[in-house]
Symmetry: C2
Subunit: 150 residues, 2 copies
């Protein structure tokens, strides 16, 4: 596994654990078989009582513009449309932590998707995802719930 891939893998696993602790059922795409993965799946899918969030995960050493290939973006949006879910670019940054850039599921993607560093900087953390999904229970409640259901 390349160093870059290993970093991406760690970020995905961290996101999976965060979402699981919040009560979601979470599935990560195959770590190996990068070809299959890119063809079919987003990096991470999280479901809580029928509410769905779909993530493409990017880990970066610093705040910078992020570019996502046209095809990868289309797959993410298509998966989200079928699932009835919300698509996100989940960006992992040192010190800052997670930033979640919500995409419009109906966007027509004709080019590489550029996400400005300003957009990333202003994007919400995981609380923004919970709000988008209309999950109103507090983090605290989820943590308690998680202790009972795991």
């Amino acid at each position: 596994m390349s160093r870059k891939r290993a970093k991406g893998y760690r970020a995905e696993r961290e996101l999976v654990e965060l979402l699981w602790r919040l009560g979601f059922a979470v599935m990560r795409a195959p770590a190996s078989g990068a070809k299959i993965k890119k063809a079919d799946y987003p990096d991470v899918v999280a479901i809580l009582k029928g509410k769905v969030a779909v993530f493409e995960v990017k880990s970066r050493a610093k705040l910078e513009n992020i570019y996502i290939g046209k095809e990868q973006t289309q797959k993410l949006l298509n998966f989200a449309r079928r699932a009835g879910g919300i698509p996100y670019i989940a960006v992992r940054l040192p010190h800052i932590g997670w930033k979640f850039i919500k995409l419009d599921v109906n966007t027509e993607v004709n080019n590489t998707l550029k996400i400005d560093k300003e957009t990333i900087e202003k994007a919400p953390n995981i609380a923004g995802v919970l709000a988008d999904l209309n999950i109103t229970k507090t983090l605290d409640t989820y943590l308690k719930q998680q202790l009972n259901t795991y």
Copy 2:
């Protein structure tokens, strides 16, 4: 990859393709890393507009009783509870095709789960899953829809 594992893998892929054609967003657990897979994920998760079905996939050469380990069953049910989905044992048989045994998501699992061959024989095909999820559009509609959204 062992011969048995290869057969299971083919069955999973077939189920993924079937569900995808029906309009679902579908995700399959990692094919490699069997340890991780058993710990965390069901074999296949399918989502259609917030309706969720979760599958443990079994491929068999003939109709026979099927046994599923306690822990594997618990993981399946726990995932389904979090997702707000319906858990199934999906059995692939030669000539007969797919049979879907719906589990009660609230079952307390204290032992290996035994599914009688009579139960398997009587179980519905994919149409049963669509009915369970209250998906009332016909297969035909889905096939047309799929052509537009893929």
